[in-house]
């Protein structure tokens, strides 16, 4: 089926099966490889994209459900977004695999709560796992981006 939506500010139309997840479509049809498969069951956050501004696990979101909606990945942030800058300045990554999902989730947090406490940051990011264990510096990064 044809699915039309906005990806990183541009209108796109893709041809996908009705039972395919958004993750597959973003990677295969749009080449947005910052969206990454890890757990496949919506617990790790590595496949996070913003759909109409809300962080969503794209491994569990059927692609047709984004018809007409706005999808944002880190490729759409341009590299100089305050949250991206915060992560670079705090060295809040090691392998970098979970970083895009962390950045998108943090971005939404800062829209809702521009000066979050450490507890709020931890709670907001609790659904994003980092096996390298960069959590301490990620909290610093989000605080830095909020400053």
């Amino acid at each position: 089926m044809r699915i039309a939506f906005t990806a990183n500010g541009k209108g796109v139309e893709v041809d996908a099966r009705s039972d395919e997840m958004l993750l597959e479509v973003l990677r295969r049809d749009l080449g947005l490889t910052s969206v990454r498969a890890t757990c496949g069951i919506g617990v790790c956050g590595a496949c996070t994209a913003l759909v109409d501004g809300e962080p969503i696990s794209t491994c569990l979101l059927l692609a047709p459900l984004v018809e007409g909606r706005q999808v944002t990945t880190v490729e759409g942030l341009g590299g100089d977004d305050p949250v991206q800058r915060g992560f670079v300045e705090a060295h809040a990554f090691q392998c970098g695999y979970c970083t895009p999902g962390m950045i998108l989730t943090a971005k939404r947090l800062l829209e809702e709560s521009p000066r979050p406490s450490e507890e709020e940051i931890r709670l907001a990011l609790a659904g994003n796992l980092c096996r390298c264990g960069c959590y301490v510096k990620i909290v610093d990064a989000v605080r830095g981006a909020a400053a």
């Binding site: 757990c39 790790c44 590299g79 991206q84 709670l123 096996r131 390298c132 959590y135």
Partner: protein, 694 residues
């Protein structure tokens, strides 16, 4: 300046795409031990490439240390998850559908799932014979016990341990167990292979490009230079992306297909590919009434699962780390690497040392309790000092154990109160012997390109080595390039393991830069570190230098529920000299957080030989909510010191620090992870002990 990690621009092995590439899926044995009969692929549609045992039966066997693997299980499947067939198709969906159409006949065999039971005389044999590998990953004297499930036995002897115990006034004895764990690197294993004019090219997330190349050459019966391995950065590895994983299957599929083939593991398959060795460790420790250590006896069983991989090396390191950083005149260690019908176990951050450090450092606190001594003072009294000989006979230099331990104790306010607090000190070996080469090429545009096999898995090795190169070249680090390692272009290196790369590549760089300055366009440097141990006596040089560290924890226990809360966790690690401060901090923090998972909840659950928690919902890894509010660490330095690797040292001290903190509350635990049930049981036993009249 931005970073490809925040823009999503990093290309991992799973992102490699080649023209005409097919996608692979693997069919796995549902039985932990079974004879394989007919493999019927007649229902698979034409156009799908199918690989069956018949296709690979004539190929060479492989294995990093014991040559015990065929590309697919041919005669027998040895664990539930052993690959028995594979397919490649244009899409994953077609590959999955084809997999369901393959019919395999199995005849179930008796299985064994416990390393100690597998040493019984009548235990089912997982392998009939154990042939030591020619791969240079089999770098030490491997002692397989033919006709048993023991594929390596390592022994270390110093003094006369029975005489030592006879002299001892206090002896403590305990059996400790540590669970299997899954690396859970976020990026799954991914490999892409293609054949070009008889030459094999592989893009794969690997820490061991040269060991991998050597094993693949043996499988296909071709020269090593007919194989090219390219290593994109990895989305985490922690020891899991070592030696042959998917590469042999993918290469066979690609050869049969005549097209490139890619395989990316499904998450559940990670638990069927490589985990950490579960271990049982028995410790007996004797001392004089004044606390002077006299004798230590340690027995280890490392469960390596159905294939040895580097299990012999893990068992050996478990064994030679078992004495710990103490002066003990009489030592006896026996460590066995044992086959079972479980998924293979291999390298995992901490590499065997986590297991024996847990047992040894818990035993030290048990001894302190018996002696009514301060656990810090007991350790300080017995620590190895500058110039001492370790139990292996090697002389120790730049000894910093006391400094690490005192820093850890101070961090948690040990001297104010010991209630709910625990300490640990450790020594961790580095790959010895080993060899590394690096080349530097100067370009007309003023940049320098490093030709270096060190693999990037998030540990920051490329950054650290680039910084060292820039310092030696006296240029800005922006002018140093570090492309993905490619065995066609980079000099030989043992492998990216054991926290060795920054140290050894840093040394090789010195010669490479000198050579470049003399010759203009290209410089080459190489370092070879000698050493090794006699596997029957444990004498020799275990580690060219030792990674030294200490840990400390403060806990709070809910004695109604058994819940353990770590309030403060600290690690003190000897860095020698820090090259990349942020990277060094991240390695310490990451090791500690991973260590917390090992301490409190990570375990590969097995029932009847099947992994029952092979997903990230049932198998939990630490999240933001699991990190103690106080997570602190020290990177201890000394002017003029060598660089010391930092990738793992802060992991092994975490479990004993927490276990000993519980011990300070009278809660005695022996098994990892420390379950709420075990804590409640220990609370009950403590109450029982108190009821006994004095």
């Amino acid at each position: 300046m931005t970073d490809p990690r925040v823009t999503g621009a990093v290309r991992y092995a799973q992102d490699v795409e080649l023209e005409g590439m097919l996608e692979a899926r693997i069919l796995r044995s549902p039985f932990p031990h079974a004879r394989i009969g007919r493999v019927d692929t007649s229902a698979v549609p034409a156009g799908i490439v199918v690989l069956t045992p018949g296709d690979v039966a004539d190929l060479g066997m492989y294995g990093a240390q014991i040559k015990d693997q065929t590309v697919l299980a041919c005669d027998r499947a040895r664990f539930a998850g052993d690959p028995v067939a594979a397919v490649a198709a244009a899409t994953l969906r077609e590959a999955d559908e084809a997999l369901a159409l393959i019919d395999v006949e199995y005849e179930e065999l008796d299985s064994v799932f416990d390393a100690v039971e597998a040493c019984d005389q009548d235990a089912p044999l997982v392998h009939d014979r154990h042939n030591v590998s020619e791969n240079d990953a089999a770098y030490f004297g491997i002692r397989p016990q033919q006709g048993t499930n023991v594929c390596h036995r390592f022994r270390l002897q110093q003094g006369d341990v029975e005489a030592g115990f006879a002299e001892a006034e206090v002896v403590v004895e305990e059996t400790f167990r540590t669970a299997g764990a899954q690396h859970a690197h976020m990026e799954p294993h991914a490999s892409v292979a293609q054949w070009q004019d008889g030459r094999l090219e592989v893009w794969t997330g690997t820490q061991t490009p040269f060991n991998l190349r050597s094993d693949l050459a043996g499988v296909f019966g071709i020269a090593e230079d007919q194989i090219r391995i390219v290593c994109p950065p990895m989305g985490g590895a922690f020891g899991a992306k070592t030696f042959v994983r998917l590469e042999a299957i993918v290469a066979c599929l690609a050869r049969k297909a005549g097209r490139p083939v890619r395989a990316i593991l499904e998450r559940n398959e990670e638990w069927l590919t490589l985990n950490r060795h579960p271990a049982e460790i028995r410790v007996r420790l004797g001392a004089r009434a004044d606390g002077t250590l006299l004798a230590k006896e340690v027995e280890c069983w490392a469960d390596t699962g159905a294939y040895a991989d580097c299990g012999p090396g893990v068992a050996q390191k478990m064994g030679f780390a078992a004495p710990g950083p103490y002066r003990i005149p009489h030592v006896s260690v026996e460590s066995r690497c044992v086959y079972t019908n479980l998924p293979p176990n291999g390298a995992f951050r901490g590499y065997g040392q986590m297991q024996t450090v847990w047992a040894s450092e818990r035993a030290m606190d048990m001894l302190a309790e018996r002696l009514d001594a301060d656990p810090l003072e007991l350790r300080l009294q017995n620590l190895l000092q500058e110039g001492d000989r370790y139990a292996t006979g090697e002389e120790l230099h730049d000894v910093r154990f006391a400094e690490c331990l005192e820093a850890a104790a101070a961090a948690i306010g040990w001297h104010e109160s010991r209630q709910g607090k625990g300490l640990c000190v450790l020594m961790k070996g580095m790959q010895t012997p080993s060899r590394a080469g690096i080349a530097i090429e100067a370009s007309d545009d003023g940049t320098y390109t490093l030709r270096c096999a060190t693999a990037e898995m998030g540990q920051g090795a490329r950054r650290a080595i680039s910084l060292l190169a820039a310092e030696l070249l006296e240029v800005d680090v922006a002018r140093v390039r570090f492309p993905d390692p490619d065995t066609d272009l980079v000099p030989y290196d043992t492998r990216t393991t054991s926290s060795r790369s920054t140290y050894i590549m840093g040394r090789a760089l010195v010669d490479a830069v000198r050579d470049l300055k003399e010759n203009g366009r290209r410089g080459y440097g190489e370092v070879e570190i000698p050493g090794g141990l006699d596997p029957d006596t444990g004498q020799g040089v275990a580690s060219h230098h030792w990674h030294q560290g200490a840990g400390a924890a403060e806990v709070r226990v809910d004695e109604e529920t058994g819940k353990v809360e770590v309030l403060h966790l600290h690690a003190a690690v000897y860095a020698g000299r820090v090259v990349n401060r942020a990277g060094a901090e991240l390695q310490n923090e990451g090791s500690m957080i991973m260590g917390l998972g090992t301490t409190l909840f990570e375990t590969v659950d097995i029932a009847d030989g099947q992994v029952t928690n092979a997903n990230l919902s049932d198998y939990e890894i630490p999240s933001f909510m699991d990190v103690p509010i106080e997570l602190t660490h020290d990177l201890l330095e000394r002017d003029g010191a060598d660089v010391h690797g930092l990738g793992e040292t802060a992991l092994p001290p975490v479990p004993p620090s927490v276990g000993n903190a519980l011990g300070s509350l009278g809660i005695h635990v022996t098994d990892l992870p420390i379950s709420a049930e075990a804590v409640l049981g220990a609370v009950d036993r403590r109450a029982g002990a108190r009821e006994v009249p004095a």
